[in-house]
């Protein structure tokens, strides 16, 4: 088989095109592109929601949007950015690069992978469909009970949110199992756990967090759904229930979720910095274990979101200490990144700009985080713009800067074209300036008395000056993304002529042509360290020949399947049907129809041979 792969025979795996080929695809690279495109569109929607809010807050007592619309905007902005933006953008990189990084043909379960994507897409559309019915979720992304109960939130708004998150949770769970097994089981010979690229390590830890955190929010959402539709009192004090239980369940999920959002960006930055410093990652093992330690501690700090609830001094002290403890492994990561840059030969290409920007901004987010790890100090800061500033430094300054570094770094591999460097750097500077203008003044606003989630503020609070600066900053931030989009569109019109390894990369994906062939590797290079392509480069005296595109004859690839998409529709039908309990007495017919589709899809899937017959 190995020799036939290297033949120069005409390609047997011709490029498949057409919409049907995308709907039925099980190729991790195509699914990655689907994830990326869809998530980027949702990300832009979340950005537009943010800009409308910023314009509303530009001056005091503004009436551009109503209180109700504003509440929907911040609810959907948070929900969208977390579940439909940053998480699936990370999933794009998981999909495309985990198999390439570990030298695998595909993920462990290609059809399950397609299923994850389709469930994510339908869940995202479902939750945004609410805008068309003028019933967009409006109780906050954290959905604190008992505001979310029928008494205080009648209407479909909260139902769209509860059910939409339930659907998205299924997508995340399926994907997490898939990537976990892929990393455990499909590594190329020689790719020991402690030789995996740092991106794979951080992704691996992210999957573990997903697997352990999502069941908890699933249970919380089930309780809330039951309260709203089936008469229980889980969070209703008048029936003996306790709204604080929601907060505990939500944050047992919600805090690990923060690391789910940031660890992939940590991984990307840990790939980009060594490559552009031309020097291996400083303290590889410390980086692995600090990541694991952050994840482990991440399950023991949830109540630091609840310091103002009055948990008592002992609980407050425990969660304060556990939260401060997380700063130690996080500090280790930052120092190791500095150690990677130190003494390197820094090649200032766009990905490095964004990676350094991520480190610089994340430090600020980390430091403000330590400030509200102290419960008494947090009693002033929580639920103010100070916290909004903090988590945007972590999630925008951290995750988005990191993901953008990844986008510039891997774009040539994914599309065979180099993004324009000048535009890339313009994007970086505008984004850096816009970002800091938007979010740094929020520290001042929060400390000077501006609570979160207010649709306006009275003039007498003197908050206008910083709010105005922030709004201009946010428009600059928006502009930077327009430049990014222009760069992508412009680049995609050029011929695909990127070399296999434009950055002198260290990891396996740079050993194959750009974009990769459907089967990824004709042959996997030997792996003796965490930088296998650098090893090859050194062995060949500094230069590597451009890898050839090979025929791929004899490589069995899984065949396309429609059943993952069909099953996803079934999932939507079953969960979405709960929307109709109050509207339609025979609502369960919709549930049963969904269940029938789900059942049929699963059976066809189970009995369909995954590989073509020979």
């Amino acid at each position: 088989m190995a020799t036939s792969v290297l033949d120069h025979a005409p390609a047997v795996h011709a490029e498949k095109t057409g919409i049907w080929s995308w709907i039925t695809t099980v190729d991790h690279k195509r699914i990655g592109i689907l994830y990326g495109t869809t998530a980027f569109i949702f990300f832009l929607m979340g950005g537009i929601e943010a800009l409308i809010m910023r314009i509303q807050l530009m001056k005091p007592d503004n009436t551009l949007v109503s209180a109700e619309l504003f509440n929907s905007l911040f609810t959907m902005h948070g929900t969208t950015m977390i579940f439909l933006g940053v998480m699936p953008l990370s999933a794009m990189f998981f999909n495309y690069f985990i198999p390439l990084h570990i030298g695998a043909r595909d993920v462990a379960f290609p059809r399950l992978n397609a299923f994850s994507y389709w469930v994510f897409l339908l869940g995202g559309l479902f939750i945004n469909f609410s805008f068309l019915l003028n019933a967009a979720p409006n109780a906050g992304w954290f959905g604190y009970a008992n505001l979310t109960e029928n008494t205080y939130s009648p209407g479909l708004n909260t139902d769209f949110w509860v059910l939409g998150l339930q659907i998205l949770g299924i997508a995340s769970m399926a994907a997490a199992i898939n990537f976990f097994v892929t990393i455990v089981n499909l590594r190329a010979p020689g790719m020991k756990m402690l030789r995996m690229p740092m991106f794979v390590w951080m992704s691996f830890i992210t999957q573990i967090l997903l697997l352990l955190a999502f069941p908890v929010i699933t249970v919380a959402l089930v309780f809330l759904m039951m309260d709203r539709h089936f008469g229980s009192h889980f969070f209703l004090p008048e029936g003996g229930g306790d709204p604080v239980l929601w907060q505990h369940l939500f944050w047992i999920f919600g805090h690990p979720e923060v690391y789910i959002l940031i660890l992939p960006a940590f991984g990307i930055v840990s790939e980009v910095l060594p490559v552009f410093s031309r020097k291996p990652l400083f303290g590889y093992t410390a980086m692995v274990f600090s990541g694991a330690f952050i994840a482990f501690l991440g399950f023991g700090v949830w109540s630091h979101h609840m310091f103002a609830t009055g948990m008592g001094p002992f609980a407050d002290s425990f969660f304060a200490i556990s939260t401060m403890l997380i700063a130690v492994p996080t500090g280790v990561k930052i120092f190791n990144w500095l150690g990677t840059l130190w003494g390197g030969s820094l090649q200032f290409k766009t990905p490095l700009y964004f990676a350094i920007g991520m480190v610089a901004m994340f430090i600020i987010g980390g430091l403000s985080g330590v400030m509200h790890a102290s419960p008494p100090a947090d009693l002033q800061q929580t639920d103010t713009y100070f916290v909004v500033a903090h988590f945007h430094y972590v999630l925008f300054g951290g995750s988005i800067f990191g993901l953008t570094a990844g986008a510039y770094y891997w774009f040539p591999k994914m599309f065979g074209r180099m993004l324009h460097e000048g535009l890339g750097k313009l994007h970086f500077w505008l984004m850096l300036i816009g970002f800091n203008l938007t979010f740094f003044p929020m520290h001042f606003l929060g400390l000077n008395g501006m609570p979160r989630r207010v649709y306006t503020y009275p003039a007498e609070l003197n908050l206008e000056f910083w709010n105005r600066i922030q709004t201009w900053g946010s428009l600059l931030l928006g502009l930077s993304f327009l430049i990014f989009i222009y760069n992508i569109l412009k680049t995609m019109r050029r011929p695909a002529d990127a070399p296999a390894d434009p950055w002198r990369g260290a990891t396996l994906e740079w050993a194959i042509p750009s974009p990769p062939q459907e089967f990824n590797f004709g042959e996997v290079p030997p792996v003796h360290s965490s930088t296998p392509v650098w090893d090859l480069r050194r062995a060949s005296g500094g230069q590597l020949p451009e890898p050839r595109r090979v025929s791929g004859a004899g490589i069995h690839l899984p065949r396309p399947s429609i059943w993952p998409a069909v099953t996803a529709v079934g999932v939507l039908g079953v969960i979405g049907s709960i929307l109709f309990t109050h509207a339609f007495s025979h609502w369960y017919f919709i549930t049963l129809s969904g269940a029938a589709i789900l059942f049929y899809g699963v059976y066809r899937w189970a009995f369909e041979p995954p590989f073509p017959e020979h």
Binding site: A139, G310, L447, P451, E460
Partner: protein, 355 residues
């Protein structure tokens, strides 16, 4: 390459000055709801802790971001430079930069835990006991010992500790009074503590900080700190018609004087349906504490109306009474019927007469 970094280098040199300027600008304004100028003991405890962490944060920020900047400028390479020395790590260094942050955190954790134990419970001793009750979207205050029920304006005597026992009748809220204390969430059927001792007199701004539905943004209140004598006068006046004193009943000749406005206004207050939600001295339901809307017995003496949203002027009161929903969309104050111009004039005069 070098020319490109020119402006950036110059910018970098100005960054500290720029930062200082921003910081000064942040402090220069007068912010009625600021956390940075504590005027109460509770807020002062919190502020001290905050300042400790800020100084540590500034030290760490300067050192780490400084190291990053040095690395950026010092290790700039060219594509054809030889490969730099391949360093994989340094155990001593890694141990050191694990221990130093841990040490800093201990320096923050010790005062933190001390402060936690001082701020978690009710204040003891000779205190003014006040029940704080959150409503969508206004605040009710009951001085159980003094027999006062009021809304949105918390009067406190300067120099004396007030103990707040806080709850809500509907959804979660958070009572935040930045310059005197801090904030704490309120839950239905549960009570949470907060306390403070005002150090100066004056009117201070506070606001609900936990998202609580449509008009969360308009759930402000005032804390009015006054001398013990002024406070005593205020209490004495507020006791008239309070549900906590003689169940709201007052002698017929007691204040306010019975005049034509009082008689006609009282009739309109009942006939117009206001009485369904509001207790008011002189009306049959003055003794009720469980009505939906705020107690209006001394509404004329409040400085603001609509949860701190509007100054208490005849024009504003008229605007509010003519159509509450247009002032505060989604407000639970629903007029049983539309009021005529003449009725509005009368009602405004009637309410304002209740000082």
């Amino acid at each position: 390459m070098e020319t490109r970094t020119g402006p950036f280098r110059r910018l970098a040199r100005f960054t500290p000055a720029l930062g200082l300027l921003l910081f000064l600008a942040a402090c220069a304004h007068n912010y009625p709801q600021t956390t940075l100028k504590p005027r109460g003991d509770f807020a002062r405890l919190v502020d001290g802790l905050f300042r400790t962490t800020v100084w540590w944060a500034i030290v760490v920020f300067v050192l780490v971001e400084g190291a990053l900047l040095i690395a950026i400028f010092k290790f700039r390479g060219r594509p054809d430079d030889p490969e730099p020395k391949q360093v994989h790590g340094n155990t001593v260094l890694e141990v050191v930069w694990t221990i130093i942050p841990a040490f800093i955190l201990v320096m923050i954790a010790v005062p933190t835990i001390k402060t936690i134990f001082r701020t978690s419970d009710y204040a003891a001793g000779d205190v003014v006991q006040i029940e704080v009750i959150g409503h969508q979207w206004w605040w009710e205050f009951r001085y159980t010992g003094l027999g006062v029920v009021t809304a949105n304006e918390l009067h406190v005597p300067v120099g004396k500790t007030v103990n707040l026992r806080m709850t809500t009748v509907d959804v979660l809220h958070s009572f935040w009074v930045p310059q005197f204390a801090a904030k704490r969430d309120v839950f239905p059927r549960r009570h949470n503590p907060l306390w403070f001792k005002a150090e100066v007199t004056g009117s201070f701004s506070g606001q609900c900080a936990e998202f609580c539905g449509a008009q969360h943004g308009r759930m402000g209140f005032r804390v009015i700190s006054e001398s013990p004598e002024e406070f005593a006068v205020w209490v004495e006046r507020q006791r008239v018609g309070s549900p906590l004193v003689n169940q709201g009943k007052v002698a017929a000749d007691s204040v306010p004087p019975i005049d034509s406005i009082e008689v006609a206004g009282r009739a309109l207050f009942s006939g117009g349906g206001c009485i369904g939600c509001h207790a008011l001295v002189g009306t049959p339901l003055a003794g009720q504490t469980s009505l939906k809307g705020p107690n209006l017995s001394h509404v004329g003496s409040r400085t603001t109306i609509v949860a701190g949203m509007l100054q208490n002027t005849p024009e504003n009161l008229r605007k509010w009474l003519s159509n509450p929903d247009s002032v505060k969309k989604g407000t639970l104050m629903v007029l049983p019927r539309k009021l005529t111009d003449a009725e509005l004039t009368l009602l405004v005069a009637y309410l304002r007469s209740h000082q």
